[in-house]
């Protein structure tokens, strides 16, 4: 079983009120100089090998469903399930 991770983030020019609230809370907790933007992470378990074709399919799914590209950007990468580290990005 392989895993593909899709990260979705609000576009830089889009106001991120949740990230702003988290940034404010960090400051109140004494974590200085940290600014947060909040996004979403989707872990997609893929049956069989992750081929370029599979990745393209997941990119299409991200474009169509995981992200609203009017307000968000996304990135797709393969995650090594055994170690939890990521293996390149696409």
């Amino acid at each position: 079983m392989a895993r593909v991770v899709v990260d979705v983030m609000p576009k830089p020019e889009i106001l991120d009120p949740q990230g702003k609230a988290v940034t404010g809370a960090l400051g109140r907790l004494g974590f200085e100089g940290l600014s947060v933007r909040q996004g979403k992470r989707f872990e997609v378990e893929v049956t069989g090998e992750v081929t370029e074709e599979r990745l393209e399919q997941i990119r299409q799914a991200a474009e169509k469903l995981f992200a609203n590209t009017v307000i968000e950007t996304f990135s797709v990468r393969i995650e090594d399930v055994s170690t939890g580290s990521t293996d390149g990005s696409a």
Binding site: E13, L15, P17, Q18, L65, F66, N68, V70
Partner: protein
């Protein structure tokens, strides 16, 4: 013949029955449509109601947008069927790309629930033709994700083409250009965050300012026959 106005119910729709009641209140025939239904049953106009379709999971309206009936809705809207999206319905219309832009979390993160003053910015839609130009009205507003956003180019086009239909008087949620509702180029698809269906009966609302949506669309439909 009485105008038949459909109201789509998605799992998690909340104000579908209010919309059906509002339709009945003005003398039109309400037609309830389940989201998995296979057709629009020949309705003359359609309302996508407020609520929390699919629990607002993923993004508001993002999953409802792919409901079986939505293919029909998108096709019919393209052919000129009057479609009104209220609150969650507006979010569904944006996710469907029937209307440009998107709705994000309110600035300030609060769920806003109030009687909201608005200005009618255009009567050049099938849902607002019977308002007075520049008329100021009050409608119920109740949402957590009602902040309208779009890129600068889209905003300029909406303003230039007279597609901003309602503007907030006192911006409650950080919406770009105080936008509360917009229309498509053709003027048959309108989406707004406030709830006209809650303002049709003095018994249950502060006024009846929302009735004009329905009388406008009924006069449009009657003029076609």
């Amino acid at each position: 013949m009485s105008t038949r106005i459909g109201v789509v119910t998605f799992p998690g729709s909340l104000d579908d029955h209010d919309a059906l009641r509002a339709v009945r209140q003005v003398g039109a025939t309400p037609v309830p449509l389940w989201h998995a239904h296979d057709g629009l049953d020949g309705v003359d106009a359609l309302i996508l109601p407020g609520g929390f379709s699919y629990g607002d999971y993923l993004r508001c309206g993002a999953i409802a947008r792919f409901a079986p009936l939505m293919g029909e809705v998108i096709k019919a809207a393209g052919q000129g069927l009057p479609v009104l999206g209220i609150c969650n319905g507006f979010q569904v219309l944006c996710e469907s790309h029937l209307l440009p832009g998107a709705l994000i979390r309110n600035a300030g993160l609060r769920f806003v629930c109030k009687d909201q003053r608005l200005r009618v910015e255009t009567r050049d839609t099938v849902w607002t033709s019977q308002y007075e130009p520049g008329q100021e009205i009050t409608l119920v507003l109740k949402n957590g994700e009602g902040s309208y956003v779009a890129d600068a180019e889209t905003l300029a086009r909406l303003e230039g083409e007279d597609q901003v239909v309602f503007r907030y008087l006192g911006n409650p949620n950080g919406s770009a250009n105080d936008i509360a509702g917009i229309t498509n180029e053709r003027g048959n698809v309108v989406g707004l965050m406030p709830h006209p269906e809650h303002n049709v009966d003095p018994l249950t609302g502060p006024n009846t300012d929302g009735t004009t949506f329905l009388t406008s669309v009924i006069s449009h439909v009657q003029a076609l026959v």
